[in-house]
């Protein structure tokens, strides 16, 4: 029961992370257009490649975040192979083995959530820093 709930929480957090990453990719892609379109208005110290660098880093992190991963550690419980056989899916009546598998799945999901959160945080930090920088530049241009 405890491990079932924990796995449910991990799965939900991972799904939320994926959803946020997908939408952030969309947001960054949409924002890239107006930024490239207004390249003539950029200050002298900011060439276009430099302005596009944060976008590319954010894209890289977000794509790593949504990259599908099925670690080898969980191959016994959740098989992802090209030619699965019926004998690959065997029911075990051993309760202790079942608990061990649930613990293993918790550990795997914890690792996946860690990397997803890390990449999402990095890309969101980049977006936030870029927005703050843009706000300052726009503010200066109004003075």
């Amino acid at each position: 029961m405890h491990y079932g709930n924990l796995i449910g929480t991990y799965t939900e957090s991972i799904r939320l992370c994926d959803f946020k990453a997908n939408l952030t990719v969309l947001f960054v892609a949409i924002m890239m257009g107006p930024v490239v379109a207004s390249k003539d208005k950029f200050p002298n110290f900011l060439p276009l490649p430099l302005a596009l660098a944060p976008f590319l880093i954010a894209f890289f992190c977000l794509l790593l975040c949504v990259f599908p991963r099925f670690p080898r550690r969980d191959t016994r419980n959740f098989i992802v192979v090209r030619n699965p056989k019926r004998s690959d899916f065997l029911y075990s009546e051993d309760k202790s083995e079942d608990v061990d598998q649930l613990k293993l799945r918790c550990a795997i999901l914890s690792g996946i959530l860690f990397w997803k959160t890390l990449f999402l945080k990095v890309s969101l930090y980049i977006c936030l820093a870029t927005l703050a920088f843009t706000f300052v530049l726009l503010g200066f241009s109004l003075l």
Binding site: K20, F27, P34, C106, F114
Partner: protein, 148 residues
Amino acid sequence: MASDPATYYRNQIAAYNDTIRISDFKANVAIIYGAFTMGPLMGFANQFPPFLPLNAVLMAFVLVFFCLLVCLFPRYPRAGRATFIIKPNAKPDEFIVPSQEIVLQSQQTLCVILCNILYWKTIMLRISFSIYILGTLLAAALLAHSKI
């Protein structure tokens, strides 16, 4: 009324989770909405009134995007990580079944964490929606004025 404390806290946590998820969804939709509306606005930049430069309009958008991204920022405070481990190389043995007392304590802690997360999400969402609403009203007023 819940029959026992664990059920009570579980219901509270579910209610917080649900509200946080709805907040996240709203922020996601708002961020895409803002990104889509920015393009057409930039296209009409030469028709803006003299007192409203394009950069001032863009500053409002940037502020909204900042608030919405802060709203969407994933947070797992350390206080809640005793039972919800987030590590790159967690071992299966680290996941142990806690006692009933620890479960109740961690449920209470989770309520506190979720309450705080929801508070900040709501603040950020309110700021950005207020700016959107004011911007929409301003745009409507300007459009009406240009017709007269």
